[in-house]
Symmetry: C2
Subunit: 185 residues, 2 copies
């Protein structure tokens, strides 16, 4: 993984991939799949993501004020479905069951998901207080970003130069996805 | 175009396509491309979209309280780039220059973009007042939705059964896109 310039961090999410959201607080850790995430600003980079208030992820984000956004690849499809299905509240061993390993982001300690093509560490923004209650919407500033140089270099995705399992996933419904396709120019 | 059940409307955006935002007020009309849009809720369906406060689109949405979200296809790539580049403020003939035609949505009058694979008419939600100023974020309820039955039927996209020009666009940066790719199951 290579560090991504913060001014290019929005590009990691600009094409609308399904993501994994990492969260941690007081020794608890979780990772869940989320299809509803997008960039919110370029520079300073910010993101928006919808996280249901019934989830452990939401509890951990509210307690810690930080989260990670990770872009999984086609090779991780089963892991994505599993983290989107199993509840971290019900299964204390959710991450090991789902085959997820993480490492702590340098500035926030948020868990970055190993094997993903991109990872962003984020801190929750103040305006979240107005939209988290009514709309489950979390707004956050991106403090650090990394990407797999096989598919992201010089500030751009280059999926067409890499193996097919290194494409993002785009969730349709019920565990069905489309992979990112061919370049259109 | 076929009407889409409101409970399935989120699926039109769930895979993260680049969209066209339609707006109108007092005889003025605009359409602009936006990559930062996502579902916000299932049922009642809601969406979130980032619209810069410097744009005509933002003015028209704030004046009318309504907007449309449209999902263009690969065949419309040039139109998408043009509507994302030309300013509606500077060019009063922007829509004809860009080759865009629209028709008014039944409940809101918001302009739906002809030739798109999906169209949603939306009304701005009250919580927008908290996030439009600081973050250019518009939250809206979906009141009606339509999709091209060649690619969306029984509540699901079926791109793999249609010609390649009927795929969504996913903007990377600078007018470069990926098409939606193959199913991953």
């Amino acid at each position: 993984m290579q560090a991504v310039e913060l001014k290019h961090a929005y590009r990691l999410l600009n094409h609308g991939p399904t993501v994994l959201v990492g969260s941690a607080h007081a020794g608890r850790r979780n990772v869940m799949a989320a299809a509803w995430a997008m960039p919110l600003d370029f520079d300073t980079p910010k993101i928006a993501v919808v996280i249901d208030k019934a989830t452990l992820t939401r509890e951990l984000i509210e307690a810690s004020g930080v989260l990670s956004i990770n872009v999984p690849c086609v090779a991780q499809r089963e892991l994505v479905v599993a983290t989107g299905t199993l509840s971290g509240k019900e299964h204390k061993d959710k991450l090991s069951r789902c085959g997820v390993t993480t490492h702590a982001a340098p500035q926030t300690g948020a868990p970055l998901v190993d094997g993903c093509m991109a990872q962003l560490e984020c801190r929750v923004l103040p305006a979240t207080v107005h939209v988290a209650g009514p709309h489950d919407l979390i707004l956050a500033e991106v403090l650090g970003a990394w990407a797999d140089e096989r598919v992201f270099s010089q500030g751009r995705w280059h999926f067409e130069d890499a193996p097919a399992e290194l494409r993002s996933l785009h969730h349709v419904a019920g565990g069905h996805f489309y992979a990112t396709g061919e370049p259109v120019a």
